[in-house]
């Protein structure tokens, strides 16, 4: 089925088509784009980043978080030293804890001159 051929008879439309075909119509836009090209590039970069973050977030939320456990180490067992005690240990303790401080017991101060005489200055 062939499409019907449309014949443009409107002079304004004919001018517009001619401008589009010749590129005159886009000349003003090209100038504007050339003028703000860095703003436009930056805008697209930011938008791309935001979209990428949004996509990343939605993907991450769908994936369950992987939980990392430390490698299964064996439970440390307390080392059990076999303590061999001598039967003379009490005597050793007695010697070690012998108190050499003197006087023991402390002799408190006693007043050997109890009388009613006035104190000698």
């Amino acid at each position: 089925m062939q499409l019907p051929k449309i014949e443009v008879t409107n002079p304004e439309a004919q001018k517009l088509i001619a401008d589009i075909k010749s590129g005159v119509y886009f000349a003003s836009y090209r100038v504007k784009i050339a003028k703000y090209k860095w703003y436009i590039i930056s805008f697209f970069v930011v938008v791309t980043l935001i979209i990428a973050l949004a996509i990343g977030k939605s993907v991450a939320s769908r994936t369950p978080t992987e939980v990392f456990f430390p490698p299964d180490l064996e439970t440390p067992q307390p080392t059990t030293d076999i303590v061999i005690k001598s039967k003379y240990e009490p005597l050793r303790q007695e010697i070690i804890y012998f108190n050499t401080d003197l006087p023991d017991p402390v002799i408190p101060p006693f007043d050997n001159l109890i009388d009613l005489e006035p104190p000698i200055l």
């Binding site: 001598s86 039967k87 003379y88 005597l91 010697i95 050499t100 003197l102 023991d104």
Partner: protein, 260 residues
């Protein structure tokens, strides 16, 4: 018969309950603490009353101060008697018979008697003149007994060192038959070392005890050096005793055989 039956029931119940009552014995330490507490209390009262009397010499103040002075003297001498007994008891607890300190041990009992007799004498004080003479005489006569307490404190430490030596000898005698026979050369040498060390500790303790001469008079008996010199010597003895027992235990753990 009914009243007698009630009485006998009451008596038997009382006796039954008394049989469960724990016996209370005052030891020398608690007696000393009690007596010294009384002395502190009465002496602080006496200090206040004496000041009142010296500030205002009224007959009433004199009477109060006199009574308080008598009470202070009584409690002071009872405290000293208790202290002498306490030190004597500490030495006795070591359960030793060591001639170099025996004179001090006996003198402590005499000192206790002296303080008790002085406490009795103080009850006869009536006038201020009596009090003055009593205190003046006391100040001279008590010096040797007071100093003896200082000697007694050192004698107690010596007694404990001797006790350790006796116990060490017992341990040595117990260990010897459990060592291998015939004894290896190294073990024999170590046993010989123990013997020599034990003898040298004995002589150190003896020299410490012999230096105590309470009846000959010692210059520094009231000074701090009296104790500090002895502390140094005892530390030296304890260091050797520790070394000795460590060596004995080493032999016991590494070479001795169990009797069981």
């Amino acid at each position: 018969m009914k009243p007698f039956a009630g009485l006998s029931l009451l008596l038997s119940t009382t006796l039954f309950l008394l049989s469960f009552t724990p016996a209370v014995f005052a030891d020398s330490r608690s007696d000393y603490d009690y007596q010294y507490g009384l002395y502190r209390q009465s002496y602080s009262e006496f200090s206040v009353l004496k000041k009142d009397y010296l500030d205002t010499s009224s007959l009433d103040n004199q009477q109060k101060a006199m009574l308080s002075a008598k009470q202070s003297i009584l409690t002071r001498d009872l405290s000293k008697a208790s202290l002498a007994w306490y030190i004597w008891d500490l030495i006795d607890a070591s359960k030793i018979d060591y001639p170099p300190i025996k004179s001090i041990f006996n003198a402590l009992a005499e000192a206790r008697q002296y303080y008790l007799s002085e406490s009795e004498k103080s009850k006869k004080i009536i006038t201020t003149e009596n009090l003055k003479r009593f205190s003046s005489d006391y100040q001279e006569s008590t010096i040797k007994h007071d100093r003896l307490l200082r000697y007694g404190i050192i004698a107690n430490k010596i007694a404990r060192l001797v006790r350790i030596q006796i116990d060490s000898q017992t341990a040595y005698d117990d260990l010897l038959p459990r060592l291998p026979s015939p004894m290896p050369t190294t073990v024999a040498a170590r046993v010989e070392e123990l013997k020599t060390m034990h003898a040298s500790i004995n002589s150190l303790i003896e020299s410490l005890a012999v230096e105590l001469k309470p009846f000959d008079g010692e210059e520094n008996v009231d000074a701090d050096i009296f104790y500090s010199v002895r502390i140094n010597k005892m530390n030296e003895i304890i260091a050797i005793q520790t070394n000795w027992i460590n060596r004995l235990i080493d032999l016991d753990l590494n070479y001795a055989t169990s009797k069981d």
